[in-house]
């Protein structure tokens, strides 16, 4: 319990940090845009907006959450204890059994009647809801950021188009000016009249000034278009990254939801069929036969005790017929598992290698996440 709570706290912190980092990066990209509109140089801003940091952190966070989801498996191992308990005798019951088999059996029966996993199921759903909340929050953040950056980008694309257009018209202008200048120069070289020559020269100087201005403008526009291009590239890769992160969140949510759904259905069905099988027959035989049932009941009980294992097997088989739903869920789970495995190969490996050393696992997960 405390382990789970501390893990959740940990993951919450990670999520908050990841969200802060995402907000920071989106913020950088947005300020770059406003600066650009104001006309100042933004190359440094773009260089500063590095995705690596965000990625490293997102990976760390996701590995922690994946770990948390796998950790639910450990939480649910409590269920199988319950199932085993229903089938076998406790130490005390075996001890009593040495003196009175009947007493031990009736103690076990009583225990089966009291057994219930409803609280555990509720607990499982509660915990899985907490994790789902964490994941959906993150997903929401990712999606809003993606939308923001995308609208930003479409605007910038329009701007860039305008810049390229301006650049092209400048180039055309420069090209058109070339023959004019040559013509003027030629005229000057053949002109003998000083007055006319001075006029032509001043016209040439004028034209040259214009030409230089345009050439300078071309440089400015070229730089602007390049900056815009870099900005767009950065923005695009940020959108891609956000998209990818969102996909990861969706895989996690999907896995968690199908897992929980499957567990609730299967655990519940198993408990109930165990309880039913262990009680129904005995109760009937006792009531039918009436008073002199002690031996009879005992025989019935021990027969059922012996048959429990084979019965369990049969029951599971018959469940396969009736609980088609469970199979469907299992199929869904297989799909979710596959997607999950593809994304979290490393964590699963670690989890399998060291299922119980949770602390150690956490730290290796961190190191790995930071390194990746």
């Amino acid at each position: 319990m405390s382990n789970f709570a501390s893990q959740i706290e940990n993951s919450k912190k990670e999520v908050a940090e990841a969200q802060a980092k995402i907000a920071e990066l989106s913020g950088k990209i947005e300020t770059a845009r406003t600066k650009m509109e104001a006309g100042s140089d933004i190359s440094i801003d773009i260089e500063n907006a590095s995705l690596d940091d965000v990625h490293a952190h997102a990976e760390l966070m996701n590995s922690n959450i994946a770990d948390l989801i796998l950790g639910l498996d450990d939480v649910t191992s409590g269920f199988s204890k319950e199932f085993d308990g229903m089938r076998s005798k406790t130490g005390w019951e075996s001890f009593v059994g040495i003196f009175s088999k009947k007493r031990a059996e009736s103690m076990r029966q009583e225990r089966v009647r009291m057994a219930s996993i409803d609280d555990k199921l509720q607990d499982l759903i509660g915990k899985s809801n907490v994790i789902t909340k964490l994941l959906t929050d993150q997903l929401d953040t990712l999606q809003t950021h993606k939308e923001r950056v995308e609208t930003n980008l479409t605007q910038t694309l329009v701007d860039r188009e305008a810049a390229v257009h301006a650049l092209e018209s400048l180039k055309a202008e420069l090209l058109a000016m070339d023959p004019q200048i040559i013509e003027l120069e030629n005229q000057i070289s053949v002109e003998t009249n000083a007055g006319k020559r001075a006029k032509l020269e001043s016209a040439l100087a004028d034209l040259n000034g214009k030409y230089n201005e345009a050439a300078q403008m071309e440089q400015v526009k070229l730089a602007e278009s390049q900056t815009l291009e870099r900005y767009i590239e950065k923005g695009k890769s940020w959108v891609d990254s956000l998209q990818n992160q969102a996909a990861t969140q969706m895989v996690l949510i999907n896995k968690l939801k199908t897992d929980t759904k499957q567990r609730v259905v299967l655990y519940d069905a198993l408990t109930k069929s165990l309880k039913t099988a262990q009680q129904q027959d005995v109760a009937h035989r006792i009531n039918e036969i009436g008073i002199e049932t002690d031996q009879e009941a005992q025989a019935a009980m021990s027969a059922i005790g012996v048959a429990t294992n084979s019965r369990m097997a049969e029951m599971m088989e018959s469940h396969e017929d009736h609980m088609v739903y469970a199979r469907k869920v299992l199929e869904e789970k297989a799909k979710a598992d596959e997607r999950f495995a593809r994304r979290f190969e490393k964590i699963i490996e670690m989890h399998d290698a060291n299922a119980y050393g949770r602390d150690e696992l956490g730290s290796t997960g961190n190191a790995d996440g930071a390194g990746a």
Binding site: E110, G126, D268, S273, A283, V324, K328
Partner: protein, 395 residues
């Protein structure tokens, strides 16, 4: 999973073939469009209203006692609250189109109710309602935001609508007495002196059965020969409560539950026990059913709201004798023997003294039913909902 069936005769039979094979593959159905979800909850709201009338009618007919009717009505009220809460939860879920917001799953074979998991989820939500209410903006704020959104963005504020539906859902959860997956036993004192003579109690509790996805209400009349009055006995009462909750499963027969209880509590004697199964609900639009009822509902379809039937089963178990059983070296205790007609193989199989089945259905479906008069449904009592929601009972 299945699309709403088309109205043409040909399309319908084809759709049914498809859904018949789908039924084998999947017996849960996810309500995917908003209209279906709304229609589903609207239908249940009406049916639960009818159930209250049916309860009053059965009391008049002497089928159940006044105390039982009162208890039933409280649980039915809880059930209608639960459905209202769920209807808010899923009201906008289809519109948001988020991965995060899940859709309602119902059990489409032999239940017609939402699956157990949905009710468990709701209970988990209810336990955190206060926390959610603190973090969600108030209804007034949300509505204000919606107006702003509509005026400035000139689009439908779907996300805000969803947030508001969730806000109302949590408000509902925190305020109402809901029908939970498990509703713990409560006792009513019936008779007996306050001294050591035996006292009688009527214990009642309810469960949303996880196997059949149908709500079940349990009642048990107990004779208490213990030293301390049961509801005030902190040694026995909590144990009794958890025992009964753990044993309330549709797969256990009443006889099994009663016998087990009798054995585990030496000074408590279950004299009479009842289980009300509220459901399954059959509807031509939402569920798939086999047997004669299917044809009846298929023929009755047409006008919305007239193509359903709800089965209502009352199982009773009565003790007819007692016997003494040795419980130790020197002690013995009283055990109940229940009246079960062992010569009637069906009754012996039922594990109950009597099982009374009835069907609640609207007038249109009833007319078709009378016309067809299928053998399987001949002997059960029918409560027919007429126009103006007036209910008549036919044998």
């Amino acid at each position: 999973m299945t699309k709403p069936r088309s109205n043409s005769k040909k399309g319908q039979s084809k759709a049914e073939q498809v859904s018949a094979s789908e039924m084998l593959a999947f017996d849960h159905k996810v309500l995917e469009d908003a209209q279906a979800t709304r229609r589903y909850f609207g239908k249940f709201e009406r049916i639960i209203d009818h159930l209250k009338q049916v309860t009053k009618l059965s009391k008049k007919e002497g089928l159940i006692t006044t105390a039982e009717a009162k208890i039933l009505l409280t649980y039915l009220l809880g059930l209608s609250y639960t459905f209202t809460a769920l209807s808010y939860k899923f009201l906008m879920a289809n519109r948001v189109g988020d991965q995060a917001s899940s859709l309602l799953s119902i059990d489409k074979t032999d239940s017609g109710f939402p699956i157990y998991g949905e009710i468990l989820h709701m209970a988990a939500d209810a336990s955190q309602a206060e926390k959610h209410l603190k973090s969600l903006p108030s209804q007034k704020r949300l509505k204000q935001d919606m107006v702003n959104h509509i005026l400035t963005e000139q689009s439908i504020p779907t996300k805000l609508q969803y947030a508001l539906s969730q806000r109302i859902y949590y408000e509902y959860l925190s305020k109402s007495t809901l029908f939970l997956p498990g509703n713990d036993p409560q006792g009513i004192w019936i008779s007996g002196k306050k001294n050591r003579d035996s006292r009688s109690y009527l214990i009642h509790w309810a469960k949303y059965d996880s196997q059949t996805n149908v709500p079940a209400i349990y009642m048990m009349e107990l004779e208490d020969t213990g030293r301390k009055a049961l509801p005030r006995d902190e040694r026995r009462w909590p144990r009794v409560q958890s025992h009964l909750m753990a044993q309330s499963m549709s797969s256990l027969k009443l006889l099994t539950i009663a016998r087990g209880f009798d054995r585990d509590f030496d000074d408590l004697h279950p004299k009479f026990m009842r289980r009300f199964n509220i459901g399954p609900m059959y509807s031509h639009k939402f569920t798939e059913q086999r047997g004669p009822l299917r044809d009846v509902l298929a023929d009755a379809k047409g006008e919305a709201g007239l193509d359903w039937a709800l089965s209502w089963t009352v199982e009773s178990l009565v003790s007819e004798d007692t016997t003494q059983e040795k419980t130790g070296m020197f002690s013995s205790s009283q055990r109940e023997l229940y009246r079960i007609d062992t010569l009637d193989s069906k009754a012996a199989e039922d594990g109950a003294t009597e099982i009374a089945r009835s069907l609640i259905l609207p007038h249109r479906a009833f007319q078709v039913l009378e016309e067809k008069n299928p053998t399987g449904l001949r002997d059960i009592r029918k409560y027919v909902v007429g126009k103006n929601a007036k209910i008549l009972s036919y044998k």
